[in-house]
Amino acid sequence: MKQAIDPEWAWTEFQPDADTPWNLRAAAHLYRRAGFGANHEELTTAVEAGAVDAADNLLGSAAEPEDYRHEVTDLAHASMASGNVQQLSAWWAYRMLSTPSQLLEKLTLLWHGHFATSAQKVEDAKLMFDQNNLLRKYALGNFARLLQEISRDPAMLIYLDSVTNRKAHPNENYAREIMELFCLGEGNYTENDIRELARCFTGWEVKNRKFRFNRYQHDTKSKSFLGHTGNFGGEEGVRIVAGQDAAPQFVAMKLVKFMVMDEPSPSAELLAPLARELRSNEMQIAPTIRRILTSNIFYSAHARGRKVRSPVELAIGFLRSLEGSTNSYELAEKLQTLGQGLLYPPSVKGWDGGRTWINSSTLLGRSNLIRSLLDHEKTRFGKTSLNEYLASEDAESADEIIDWFQTSMFAVDIPAAARERIRTLLSGGNNRDEKLKDGVHALCTLPEFQLC
């Protein structure tokens, strides 16, 4: 499979044809990957715009309207007033549901999993909020700059037990993680590089919830790592790491696995054009994202239905596609139960993703999540009931409803047997609301629905 993908073809701009048309389902694929999902009106607009312009529109809308940013910032401050980080988790769920800049939010989620920091340990809503804003600020910006900023982020340093770093005993935690998990990947550094880089970070501390450089604890002697020698401080250390050849390759791998496919792991050859593009753009992320979203491979069978929906993609995608709203506190709790608590990644490695999202336990949990969303008294679809919403979408008969869901929410076709079973569910009984919920629940628990 790896060898079958020609890098030049893969990253060439997508030209729709009879085999791979630009239609509602292709647009839905774009929105599922570059966001969480879109309603039919948004999909229709995207189809009318064309594949490239639709991607550009997503990139263009990544700058959030000022009013919206003020509104959600106020909401965050209100959420943090009690100091309960769980409430901030609910705030982020609300933000994902309401943002007009889906791509920005999706990439913020990517970087949250990449620079994983858990509120479980940090226990400070304000620090988690600041870090979340930092990730959003650079989500489509300069990766090297993001790496610099996150290296001084108090929440990150608390999470990695790096609140103190003295020259007598350099703390190697952050030096290890920045090379292994954040920027280069295993095999691109040595243990000695870690020790030397750790010396660069000496004197970096967190005091009273703020970053502080303690010049008396900084090792001012010469350091030698990754082919560079000098009296480096922390900033120079991060710059040297970000300047490694392995860095753009590592970042490209992250972007492709997040946006294109879980499996197979992209080859170095396939990633090379993106890595070159990243480097030539001085590690600016947006141009590479654009190239991915407008590429042949993105709309090919290598990508479509080749990712497993994460719990966040499952729940937020379900609601956004149906213009849904619900109780964000309970939604955030349920996401945590399913293993993707917002602001609560399981470890410094973030979420493993891919097939690990699916097992017998999580399948049941995913099914229960959809059911609870459907049944919750606060859940509304387009400000109304599911019945009225689907009626407004001209999806009233069983087949119309199934087709509607397949178009906007399914990456692959619904099998005939499943279609028949759901048709029966949607047609039976007297209570239309209940049978609609039963039918939609059955649709969303199909194995095909778990694919993105």
Binding site: L75, A81, N208, N327, S328
Partner: protein, 576 residues
């Protein structure tokens, strides 16, 4: 279905015996074994109070009301109502007022275990009209055969869905038990059997009835108690210190009292609901002297007046005595917990016995005050703006205890600072202030970080500046130094002889202001809880604020005399 509903709601009328019953009362028709009785003597007044209320226009202009009355279901209801009105030849309100002109009565009979609803109409002719029209309507229903017809002593009775009813003269009698129905008719036709009217307890309860009460009710507590219903309620024991503090005295009275009565007065000014029951001080065991006082007339204090008062509680509770008598009042588990707390608190108060020395240094007159905080000239301003609150107590021996309490408060602030430092929180700075009136304040204030000093979104702790104040016998423990200062400076009327055992009051206007102070927070919570947009959330919260704005105050009081124990609840609204 339509017919059944109409039958259930308004009932049908059948031919009445030519027995004169104008002087009958509901209590004379109910047997003396009635354990619960309730009456709405003048339903038209109650209807008028509700439907002619000055606030009705305001409520009808609210968006949720408009939405609720703009549904298919409500429109169907209006159509059905109109249809019935046409059949009856009068509007619904006139119909109800005619049908219930002389009252609605409810009785629960212990002997037959039946429930009876007695409705006394305007006159026999009106009831005939109802009967004829509603019988016609019922025939239009789907199952006219479900109406069963029978006769008892010449009176035609009907049964629908296990409910039996009959009309005699201007009375409509409805019951769920045939035996009770016969009892009612026997009393109606003969008028010789013993009835509730002759019941001594009922007569005694009746004496305290306000003739203008919208609703009046009576319960035969002795019979209910003896029958074994809700044994926990009549056991005289509670398993919770909070419940004991709140209603411990009532539990003792409920063990002995023969009956209880309640009355509700509804007017354009609001609703007042009162419960009362016979009470004797002898019924209260010694261990509950903490509740009513040794002579049974303990009363709460008059509280100093503060600005922006949101809530006040004034009560008589000898907490020291309750603490020391806990072994007689609570079970082993509770006592184990209290013993642990006693040991910890005794340590905290430098070895002074908490129950005897600390609580015992206070008189049983306890006050609690909560007031809105005004942050106009204060920084930092917390995001969540909580009301300030204080305990207002009296020291038995201020010369001896003030020093002890002052030192304990200083230790407590030191403890807060140590814990706060460990958790990275701001520190409290203490100060002592001697006021011109001789009062003394020991205050503490959180000192914000430089970054937070001018914040208007500060942490919730900036609602607090724990302080204590001493002024003569008055001892104040307040959440803020401002409230403490106000409370030690405020004058208190000297005469507190008219006060009851307990009185609480919540002020509507101040509550609205407190909610309004937190409007942004409430809107945000609504957005996250209900998934609303900001505009929707603002509309919801503004509606809440508007509805709260209709209330003047909510009050509750417990009053005890040598022969009666009562609770009065009041909800007062703005009627202009």
């Amino acid at each position: 279905m339509l017919r059944t509903s109409i039958l259930c709601c308004l009932s049908l009328i059948t031919a009445a015996d030519p027995v004169t019953a104008a002087d009958r009362t509901a209590s004379s028709l109910l047997p003396d074994t009635t354990v619960f009785y309730a009456e709405i003597a003048n339903p038209s007044d109650l209807i008028s109070t509700i439907f002619d209320h000055p606030l009705r226009e305001n409520i009808e202009s609210l968006e949720p009301y408009r939405m609720a009355t703009n549904t298919d279901g409500y429109r169907a209801f209006l159509t059905g109502r109109k249809f019935v009105e046409i059949q009856l030849g009068m509007e619904w309100r006139e119909a109800i007022e005619t049908l219930t002109s002389r009252g609605i009565y409810l009785g629960v009979d212990a002997k037959t275990q039946g429930v009876a609803l007695l409705i006394n109409g305007k006159d026999a002719a009106s009831m005939d009209l109802f009967r004829n029209k509603l019988l016609e309507l019922s025939k239009l229903g789907k199952n006219p055969e479900q109406i069963k017809e029978g006769e008892y002593r010449g009176v035609t009775a009907y049964e629908v869905n296990k409910s039996k009813f009959a009309v005699v003269d201007d009375w409509l009698l409805i019951t769920n038990k045939g035996d009770l129905g016969k009892v009612l008719l026997d009393r109606f036709l003969d008028g010789t059997e013993t009835s509730l009217t002759e019941n001594e307890n009922f007569q005694a309860a009746r004496k305290s009835r306000n003739r203008n009460a919208s609703v009046w009710a009576y319960a035969d507590i002795a019979t209910v108690r003896d029958s074994g219903v809700a044994p926990q309620l009549y056991s005289g024991q509670s398993s919770n210190p909070g419940v004991e503090l709140l209603v411990g005295g009532f539990l003792s009275t409920l063990q002995k009292t023969p009956f209880a009565s309640a009355q509700l007065n509804a007017s354009h000014q609001g609703i007042e609901l009162g419960f009362s029951m016979p009470h004797k001080h002898d019924w209260v065991p010694e261990e509950r002297n903490f509740y009513f006082g040794p002579d049974g007339t303990g009363h709460g204090p008059i509280l100093p007046h503060t600005r922006n008062t949101l809530f006040t509680l004034s009560t008589y509770r000898d907490i020291s005595e309750m603490w020391l008598r806990a072994g007689d009042l609570f079970n082993e588990n509770i006592n184990d917990g209290l013993a642990q707390a006693d040991a910890s608190l005794t340590t905290f108060f430098s070895g002074k016995d908490f129950g005897e020395d600390i609580l015992g240094s206070l008189t049983p007159q306890v006050g609690f005050v909560a007031a809105r905080q005004d942050f106009t000239d204060i920084l930092p301003v917390p995001t969540i703006k909580l009301p300030q609150f204080a305990l207002v107590m009296q020291l038995k021996d201020p010369g001896k205890m003030a020093r002890e309490l002052r030192r304990t408060f200083q230790s407590m602030i030191g403890f807060f600072n140590v814990v706060g430092a460990m958790e990275g929180r701001s520190q409290l700075e203490m100060d002592i202030d001697k006021l011109d009136n001789g009062a003394e304040l020991i205050t503490s204030v959180y000192i914000p970080d430089e970054d937070d000093a001018a914040s208007t979104r500060a942490d919730i702790i900036y609602n607090f500046s724990p302080s204590v104040g001493f002024f003569g016998e008055r001892f104040v423990v307040a959440s803020t130094h401002r409230l403490a200062r106000e409370l030690v400076q405020a004058d208190v009327p000297a005469d507190d002889s008219e006060l009851g055992n307990t009185h609480v009051q919540l002020e509507g206007d101040i509550l609205r202001q407190v909610l309004n102070d937190n409007r942004g927070q409430l809107v945000s919570q609504n957005m996250l809880e209900d998934g609303n947009s900001r505009e929707e959330a603002e509309n919801t919260i503004d509606l809440l604020l508007e509805v709260v704005g209709y209330f003047k105050h909510l009050s509750a009081s417990i009053n005890v005399s040598s022969n009666q124990l009562g609770i009065q609840l009041g909800l007062h609204v703005k009627s202009d």
